[in-house]
Subunit: 232 residues, 2 copies
């Protein structure tokens, strides 16, 4: 079967980067990479004419982003009808110290997606979307933990957002100082990398002491050690 | 001089937490603490009726939040006229692994501020706002690096947002599993702390080798070592 050619990310007026064009990356691969690297997205909607932005977990499958939340949460209840959203995923990679305050900056990977959020309905589709979100945030948990039952699926709202319109911006490396400031040499210049790091797993207070930490929890990656967990 | 009593954070309809009320913290101290712990905010506005959210740096001074950006950036150019914004600051503290997929969660500190963004004008006020933002992101840099000149101040847009209306949500600790799942004991449960950590400073390629890393860069805190930098 022939598959249709993959269309490029659209560059509509609002998703065209107006400044820092050299930091704009229009390829789909870059968008996927940013979305896969982040953990939390910021989902914005318009409610009664006013802006609202809330953080929430998400996951990606192909050109679809799934956003998760309780049916009671304001943003998701609003968006369930199929409304316009803007979603940002930002990965902070570093702080840039320049010779001038003006050229101080941050290193980051940023994706801003414009789209219509549509509620995922049907137990199978909803479960699959939840699997995508779960495996994005806590890889390995879908196979390790008890899957959602019908009651839990009914209580959970999942939205899907098409990734057709998006803008990706990436900044990396050191400062771009003015030549005069470089020549003056009166301040340190460079950057400090930042990374979100995992600490030591903390077992729940009511977890029997017979459990050891499963590989997917220890590493944050599925397929790391027994997926089904292990006991000593 | 008597100071007026500090009003509590407002609890308007839109900033009242509808779910997870036990996680809502209404005190001003909690709001300040979240804003001081974050580095990047997500600023949302309504543009031509559509939501727009963008990441940007910020700082806080008392009950005022300053948001920084070039005058060319879409969101800030729009907001300079004094428009309604919603700003989220989210600090991700951990991933919560439950016995059920349904009770998987994240530990976080979240602040969502509703307000009107007003452009900061006047060289002195703008410089002070930039000092607040700079010292929030890169403490010590304001005294170490060259301060902004008139041309740079003119090219920089700074918005101020009053912190009167805000909602703070905090989740910490392990999972809240169902008793049946605890009794079944078929999956690991607990949480994995997450923290944004600073790596080793990377000097700019054109920085003379005579520089050592100033204390404020090495530690991320002002007053750490010579504020004016040091050379070997």
């Amino acid at each position: 079967m022939n598959t249709p050619p993959t269309p490029p990310l659209s560059a509509t007026d609002r998703s065209t980067i107006r400044r820092g064009r050299k930091r704009a990356v229009t390829e789909r691969d870059a968008l996927w990479s940013v979305l896969d690297a982040g953990l939390v997205c910021h989902l914005s909607t318009v409610v009664d004419g006013a802006p609202l932005v809330l953080p929430t977990g998400y996951g990606r499958a192909g050109d679809t982003m799934f956003v998760h939340g309780s049916t009671g949460a304001l943003s998701l209840r609003t968006a369930a009808a199929g409304i316009e959203v803007c979603v940002a995923v930002t990965v902070l990679d570093g702080l840039v110290y320049a010779r001038s305050v003006f050229h101080h900056s941050m290193n980051y990977r940023s994706a801003v997606v414009h789209g219509t959020a549509v509620a995922v309905t049907g137990a199978d589709a909803k479960a699959e979307a939840l699997r995508v979100i779960t495996e994005h945030l806590t890889p390995g948990s879908w196979d390790h933990a008890r899957p959602p039952n019908g009651r839990e699926l009914a209580k959970t709202a999942v939205l899907s957002i098409d990734l057709a319109e998006a803008a990706v911006k990436i900044r990396a490396g050191g400062p771009g100082d003015d030549p005069d400031d470089v020549a003056a040499d009166t301040a340190w210049a460079g950057h400090v990398p930042l990374a979100l790091t995992r600490g030591t797993p903390v077992p729940a207070a009511d977890l029997p002491g017979t459990w050891s930490v499963p590989g997917h929890v220890a590493t944050g990656q599925s397929g790391s050690g027994p997926v089904t967990g292990s006991r000593r």
